[in-house]
């Protein structure tokens, strides 16, 4: 972009404005890419086209990296270590433990009452003690031990490779689901889970025994982040 050409440009612009197209002029003067313009109106139009093309491609290249690595998603992709579920997942597991226990407690109580009413006798005291002790132990287990263990044993990692999950207390399992094998993704949230802002992420693959791999206890934002990122990648896969 030497001086001479620049001067020529200005002259061209003036000529163009004389020709009546003031729109072109204003656009052109504000544009820095008009370096290889010739004398005529025709070439002016050509270069303008070229410059708009250039700027549009710039736009694209400006958008592309943004789509690939949106700032919000970087936190997920850059995971190197497996992490625990959302802190509130533990509370959620406890609440669901309490609900399950409540159901068992109700059934046990009703069962006992119905049994002894139908037998028309009072239950022996030791049976009541055993039942209460059993239920107490079950309550302790279902509300305290199991949710804590479950939380401690569940870890996940989502990175460039895909989703890696480890879970299970007695039967421990680790799943590795590569990104390219994910067919579709579900993020679900039950009413109770909504209360704790927790979601269940389900990855579906074309496999058989692990056709869907699910992870309950991610924060809803995280689950959506992962889903969105997999969706973007799917879009690029398709192209």
């Amino acid at each position: 972009m030497n001086q001479k050409e620049d001067n020529e440009n200005r002259r061209d612009n003036r000529q163009a404005s004389k020709g009546g197209s003031s729109e072109v002029q204003t656009e052109q003067t504000s544009n820095d890419h008009s370096s290889n313009q010739q004398g005529s109106n025709e070439s002016l139009m050509q270069t303008q086209q070229a410059s708009t093309n250039q700027s549009s491609s710039l736009d694209q290249s400006g958008q592309m990296p943004e789509q690939e690595k949106p700032p919000a998603k970087q936190s997920v992709t850059q995971m190197t270590e497996s992490v625990f579920l959302a802190a509130k997942a533990k509370n959620y597991f406890q609440i669901s433990g309490i609900i399950s226990f409540a159901i068992i407690f109700l059934m046990a109580t009703i069962g006992t009452v119905v049994l002894f009413v139908s037998l028309l006798t009072l239950p022996p005291w030791w049976l009541i003690v055993i039942e209460v002790l059993l239920l107490a132990w079950l309550a302790y287990f279902m509300i305290s031990v199991y949710p804590t263990k479950k939380y401690q044993r569940t870890k996940w990692r989502f990175d460039e490779q895909g989703l890696y999950i480890q879970q299970g207390i007695w039967w421990r399992k680790q799943y590795a689901v590569p990104r390219s094998r994910v067919q579709h993704i579900d993020v679900t949230q039950g009413p109770l889970q909504r209360n704790y802002n927790i979601a269940q992420l389900i990855l579906h693959t074309a496999g058989t025994m692990n056709a869907s791999v699910s992870l309950t206890g991610l924060s809803h934002e995280k689950a959506v982040e992962i889903r969105d990122e997999l969706l973007i990648q799917e879009k690029y896969d398709a192209v």
């Binding site: 490779q161 895909g162 007695w170 039967w171 590569p178 692990n210």
Partner: protein, 511 residues
């Protein structure tokens, strides 16, 4: 609504086609197969009184159903899709793109052949049921549909691959595998398929109370055969003799059934390659035609039992995506699973190279599992032996202790089995071998692996072991697949990571 339908009809009327006029017959037969066998069994077993009522309640509506079904079933071969309309109350229109059709399965039993028709199944990769079952169409119609599908396939492949020119001239090439009758008889002797027939027959007989009569007859005639020999049924030796004789007789019976089964199923077996597809054709009475695109093969498994090895033969099985027929009623739907029901063991390598030329099977380094795993098998099996001894104690008292000799067998079996398990990576596949009496080698291209799993059950954790399993499309869990047990914990951890890296680096392709 009606107006729309009318215009639609008038547009399509010149291209819309019906099934073969004899279709109603085959629809009735299918109807009877699915709903009537249990009913008839119950009916005859119950003693046939209300013959007419049964006919009035089930047969007449069945026939009507079949005729209506034939009447409403139409298909249109459009430019790039097949459109199928069916249904009376609930109308159903289905569009299937030719390029999405993965498999064309053709079945012809003697009745089909009498009328010059075939049952055609169109399969996509979706798994479960086929996209369309045409029961039945004429052979010219089959050819027409086949042409459409093949043309669409060729067009798609010419778009993204230039190497497909061979597909037209391929039919002249010699078949990959043909199985003569002598080989089929061998296959029958080797295989255990007779068990299936026996199980089926027993199931049927048990329902019709014929089984009791059969056993009565057996008892009477056995009494006749063994009159001369004085059996004291309380003596363990005579029990043992009876058991051995019974097992031998049963074995021969099973083998005979197996031979019949193999000859009927695989008579005239021919496997050919045309382009990137494998086409197989077989069957004595019911002929079966199947095409499988090579890309759709998810897994190849070679198995050899003791008899296989005696005859120097092998069997090769494949798993294909979307073709898991498990849970299909009556096993009515067949598919190409045994791509080589029997093959000379020497030829296996060439054969595998021919069906999957792009998959390498050279393993540089094999890895074995933790040998101490055999102790776990022994521990589990000793429980079984204990139960056998305990149960037979009632009958044999202290003689039952002889059964504890089974433990010798258990130890040998456990050690040999664990020693036989090994896995290794080729350039683009994972290969797993296991089995002592029955040896299996299963090969899975890395790109076909869907996900990887590491499992640790409580026993694994006590012995610091773990197992690694890989998941595939169309995996048959009841048969040999890659699920490597008795790995050292850290080895398993490394293996799942290696697999994860390798799988992530590849792309899965349906076609």
């Amino acid at each position: 609504m009606t107006q729309y339908k009318d215009t639609d009809m008038s547009n399509a009327v010149n291209t819309e086609k019906r099934l073969h006029p004899m279709s109603w017959l085959f629809i009735i037969i299918e109807f009877i197969k699915h709903f009537f066998v249990p009913l008839l069994v119950a009916f005859f077993a119950g003693g046939g009184d209300s013959y007419e009522t049964l006919a009035a309640v089930f047969v007449i509506p069945g026939v009507l159903f079949a005729i209506i079904q034939y009447w409403v079933y139409r298909y249109t071969l459009a430019e790039n899709e097949v459109m199928i309309r069916e249904g009376v109350l609930i109308k159903n229109v289905r569009h299937v793109k030719y390029e999405r059709i993965q498999n064309l399965n053709l079945t012809r039993n003697p009745l089909h052949r009498l009328f010059g028709v075939a049952q055609l199944e169109l399969e996509s990769a979706s798994g479960g049921k086929p996209e369309a079952v045409m029961r039945v169409v004429s052979l010219t119609a089959v050819e027409e549909i086949k042409q459409k599908v093949l043309q669409a396939k060729a067009a798609v492949h010419h778009d993204d691959e230039e190497t497909d020119e061979a597909s037209d001239s391929a039919d002249q090439r010699p078949p990959l595998l043909t199985i003569p009758l002598s080989e089929l008889i061998k296959a029958g002797v080797i295989s255990n398929k007779g068990m299936l027939v026996v199980a089926f027959a027993f199931g049927l007989l048990a329902q019709t109370r014929a089984l009791d009569k059969f056993f009565d007859w057996l008892e009477v005639s056995m009494g006749g055969w063994f009159e001369g020999i004085n059996f004291n049924m309380d003596h363990p030796l005579s029990i043992a003799t009876m058991v051995v004789l019974g097992i031998i007789a049963f074995f021969i019976f099973i083998r005979l059934l197996s031979i019949i089964f193999m000859v009927f199923t695989y008579y005239g077996f021919e496997l050919m390659r045309s382009g990137d597809k494998l086409a197989a054709q077989y069957g004595l009475l019911t002929q079966f035609n199947a095409t499988v695109p090579e890309q759709r093969i998810q897994m190849v498994s070679v198995s050899e039992n003791v008899l296989h090895r005696y005859f120097a033969r092998s069997s090769v099985r494949i798993a294909t995506a979307g073709g898991n027929a498990a849970g299909q009623p009556g096993g009515a739907r067949k598919m190409l699973r045994w791509i080589a029901p029997i093959i000379d063991s020497q030829r296996v390598n060439d054969f595998l190279a021919a069906i999957q030329p792009k998959v390498s099977r050279n393993v540089e380094q094999w890895h074995s599992v933790a040998f101490r795993g055999w102790k776990r098998i022994v521990r589990a099996q000793s429980l079984v032996v204990t139960i056998i001894v305990a149960v037979s104690w009632f009958k044999l008292s202290f003689h039952a202790l002889w059964f504890s000799l089974l433990m010798i067998w258990v130890v040998i079996y456990a050690r040999k089995t664990v020693a036989s398990m090994r896995y290794g990576f080729s350039d683009n596949a994972l290969i797993y071998q296991s089995g002592w009496m029955v040896q299996h080698t299963t090969m899975v291209p890395i790109s076909k692996i869907q996900s990887v799993e590491l499992r640790e059950n409580p026993l694994d954790r006590r012995t610091k072991m773990a197992s690694v399993a890989i998941d595939l499309a169309g995996l048959d869990m009841n048969r040999h697949h890659i699920s490597i047990k008795y790995l050292e914990r850290d080895v398993a951890e490394k293996l799942i990571n290696t697999l994860y890296d390798k799988v992530s680096a590849t792309v899965y392709r349906w076609k």
